[in-house]
C-alpha cells in the first residue's frame, strides 16, 4: 500500500526544500562571482545581468592561483600515492599472515582513528623544523600520509579478507614472490577499495587548511585553501573578487564530484561505515 497523497507531498516538499538549502549558497557563490561588486550590493538575490569576468581577471592577475593549484595537486597526489602503497603492503601483511604480533599491529593502526591529530601540532611543528621540512610541501605530504594510514589499513585489510586465498596459493606454487603476488594478482582485484581510500584522502588533503596554515610561510608554497586566505584580508570589501576566489578554490572538487558523484559518495560511505 502506498502512503497517502498528503504524506507524499510533505515528503517531497521537505526533500526539495533541503536540497535548495544545500545548493543555494553554492549557487550564490558561483553566480555572484560573475557580478560586479556594486551589483552584488544592489541586487544580491538577482542573477547577474551579464557575465562579468572582471573579478576572475583581477584575481588571476593578483594571485598566483596556478602555483596554488599546482601545489595542491602535488601535495594531494603524492600523499595519496604514498598512502595507497604503504597501506596495501601493511594491510596485506595483517590480513594474510598470522604472526602473534599481528593483532597488536592492527590495534596500533586503529588507535590512529580515535586520536585528535591536531593536538600533536606543537611537537609536529618542532619535528618538521628539525627535519628541515617547514615551509616545504613535504611537511604536508608527511602529515597527510600519516593521517590517512589508519583508515587506509582498515579498509584495505577488510577488503583483503574478502578475496579468495586460493588465487595467491596457486601463484605461490607457480613461484611468485609475495611482492609479485601482491602486485600482479591482488592489486588489480582491489580497485574498488583502493578507489575509496584514494577519494577520501584526496578530499582531505585537498581541502585541509589547518596544517598549511602552520607549516607553510612563503606565498609560493601555499596550497589553495591557505592561498585564498590572504585574499580576504586584502579585498575585504571587494565581494565580487572574494566570490570569484571562493569559486576558483572549490571548482576542481565540484567538477570532479559532478563527473563521479556515485563513486565519490560510495567511497565516502565505505570509509565512514567501518
Amino acid at each position: 500500500m502506498r502512503p497517502s497523497l498528503s504524506f507524499r507531498i510533505i515528503q517531497h516538499t521537505t526533500g526539495y526544500l533541503f536540497a535548495i538549502l544545500s545548493l543555494y549558497p553554492v549557487f550564490l557563490m558561483v553566480s555572484s562571482s560573475f557580478k560586479t561588486t556594486l551589483e552584488i550590493f544592489k541586487e544580491p538575490l538577482a542573477l547577474p545581468k551579464k557575465l562579468s569576468f572582471a573579478a576572475y581577471e583581477k584575481l588571476l592577475d593578483q594571485l598566483p592561483f596556478g602555483t596554488y593549484l599546482w601545489n595542491s595537486v602535488f601535495v594531494s597526489v603524492i600523499s595519496v600515492v604514498i598512502i595507497l602503497i604503504s597501506c596495501s603492503l601493511a594491510a596485506y601483511y595483517i590480513a594474510r599472515t598470522s604472526f602473534k604480533w599481528n593483532g597488536a599491529l592492527m590495534f596500533i593502526f586503529l588507535l590512529g582513528m580515535m586520536i585528535p591529530i591536531k593536538l600533536g601540532i606543537v611537537p609536529m611543528f618542532l619535528l618538521m623544523r628539525d627535519l628541515n621540512l617547514t615551509n616545504s610541501p613535504w611537511s604536508l605530504i608527511a602529515i597527510y600520509s600519516a593521517m590517512g594510514i589508519p583508515l587506509g589499513v582498515m579498509i584495505l585489510s577488510g577488503f583483503f579478507r574478502t578475496l579468495p586465498k586460493e588465487l595467491e596459493e596457486a601463484a605461490k606454487i607457480d613461484g611468485c614472490t609475495d611482492m609479485q603476488i601482491l602486485r600482479r594478482i591482488i592489486l588489480p582485484l582491489m580497485r574498488p577499495a583502493l578507489g575509496t581510500v584514494m577519494i577520501i584522502n584526496f578530499v582531505t588533503a585537498w581541502n585541509d587548511f589547518f596544517f598549511p596554515l602552520i607549516f607553510i610561510q612563503s606565498e609560493l608554497k601555499k596550497t589553495i585553501p591557505v592561498g585564498m586566505m590572504s585574499l580576504f584580508g586584502e579585498y575585504a570589501s571587494d565581494w565580487s573578487t572574494l566570490f570569484a576566489g571562493l569559486t576558483l578554490a572549490s571548482l576542481p572538487m565540484i567538477v570532479m564530484f559532478i563527473i563521479a558523484s556515485r563513486q565519490f559518495m560510495d567511497g565516502m560511505t565505505a570509509g565512514a561505515v567501518k
Binding site: F7, R8, G15, A90, M114, I115, G120, I224, A249
Partner: protein, 307 residues
C-alpha cells in the same frame, strides 16, 4: 620440486618488511607528536626552547591563572554547546533526509548529490562564503528577511555575542549534514527489507515505523555518527578561525578549546615563556576528555553488539 619449500621460506622472511613503511610514517608523524605533547606539558619553555622540568605547573596554571582558567571553562562550555546543537540539528536533519532518500521519493538520486555537495568545499571556503551571506548590511540572509517584511528579525549574526556561536554551529551543520546522511543511509540499507515489509503489513506506519522498527536497528550507525560528531565538535577550529579569527570574536563568544589551544601555542595570547608548555597542557586535557568520552561510546557499542 626440491627447492619449493626453500623458496616459500624466503618469501616468508621478506614479508615482514611489508608493514614497515606504513608503520614508520604513522609512528613518526602521529604517535610520536601525541606522546611528545604529553612530555612537553611538563616543561617550562622559553619561546621554542625547552628549559626545565616543572611537573604539573602548566596544568596548575591552566586551571588557576587568569585569563587562562576563565578562557578554559568558557571554551569548554562552547564545545559542549557545539556538540549538542550539532547532534540535534545536523544529525536530526540528516536522519530525516536519509529516511526520505531511502524511501526512493522522486529524484532521490539527485537529492543525495545535492545534500552531499557542501561537504566537498574546503572548510575555509564554507567559512568565508557564509561570512558574506551573514553580513549585516549586504548579506543574503538579512536582505531576504527584509524583502519578506521581517526586517525586525535582521541581525548582525556574527557580530552579536548572543547569535555568533549558534550561527557558526548552524553553518557547520550545513556543511556536515551530507556525511551523517550517508552513514545513516548505509545503515538503513542494511536493514532487511522483510522486517520492514512484515511490519508494514501489520499496519505499522509513519513515525511509529521509525520509532519501533527502524531506530532500534539503527543503533550502530547512530553511535558512529555520535562519535564522529563528538570528535569533530571538540576539535572545531577552522570554521571559527575563518569566520571569527583566533580570538573567537566577539568577546570570546565563539571561542572553543581548539581555538584557545591554537592561540596559546601559536598566536601568542600570553607571554612566550608559557606558550608551548601551557598549550601542550591544554592539548593533554583535551586529549583526555576526547579519549574518555570516545571510549565510553565504544564500550556502549560493544554492549549493544552483545545484546
Amino acid at each position: 620440486m626440491a627447492d619449493k619449500p626453500k623458496r616459500l621460506q624466503r618469501n616468508r622472511w621478506s614479508i615482514h618488511l611489508f608493514p614497515i613503511p606504513a608503520l614508520a610514517i604513522y609512528l613518526l608523524f602521529i604517535i610520536y607528536p601525541i606522546c611528545a605533547a604529553f612530555s612537553y606539558s611538563l616543561y617550562d619553555w622559553k619561546g621554542i626552547k625547552k628549559l626545565e622540568f616543572i611537573g604539573f605547573q602548566n596544568f596548575k596554571n591552566l586551571f588557576t591563572l587568569e585569563p587562562f582558567n576563565t578562557m578554559f571553562w568558557n571554551a569548554l562550555e562552547h564545545n559542549v554547546i557545539y556538540f549538542v546543537v550539532q547532534m540535534v540539528v545536523q544529525n536530526g536533519i540528516a536522519f530525516l533526509l536519509a529516511y526520505l532518500v531511502f524511501q526512493k521519493i522522486k529524484g532521490s538520486g539527485f537529492l543525495k548529490v545535492a545534500y552531499f555537495l557542501p561537504r566537498l568545499l574546503s572548510v575555509i571556503v564554507v567559512g568565508f562564503l557564509w561570512k558574506l551571506i551573514l553580513n549585516p548590511t549586504y548579506g543574503t540572509i538579512n536582505v531576504l528577511l527584509d524583502k519578506l517584511g521581517l526586517d525586525s528579525w535582521t541581525m548582525p549574526w556574527l557580530g552579536d555575542p548572543s547569535t555568533a556561536l549558534i550561527s557558526i554551529i548552524l553553518v557547520n551543520s550545513w556543511f556536515g549534514v551530507g556525511l551523517s546522511l550517508l552513514i545513516f543511509l548505509a545503515g538503513l540499507q542494511s536493514i532487511p527489507t522483510e522486517v520492514v515489509e512484515a511490519s508494514r503489513l501489520d499496519g505499522v506506519r509513519g513515525f511509529r515505523m521509525i520509532r519501533t522498527i527502524i531506530l532500534p536497528l539503527m543503533i550502530q550507525p547512530i553511535i558512529m555518527v555520535t562519535v564522529l560528531t563528538f570528535i569533530q565538535s571538540f576539535e572545531a577550529f577552522e570554521l571559527i578561525y575563518a569566520m571569527q579569527g583566533s580570538m573567537g570574536e566577539p568577546y570570546y563568544s565563539t571561542d572553543t578549546m581548539a581555538v584557545f589551544f591554537y592561540r596559546t601555542a601559536f598566536g601568542g595570547s600570553s607571554s612566550d615563556s608559557v606558550a608551548i608548555g601551557l598549550g601542550s597542557a591544554l592539548a593533554v586535557v583535551m586529549f583526555a576528555i576526547i579519549a574518555i568520552i570516545s571510549a565510553a561510546f565504544l564500550a556502549l557499542t560493544r554492549k549493544v553488539n552483545q545484546e
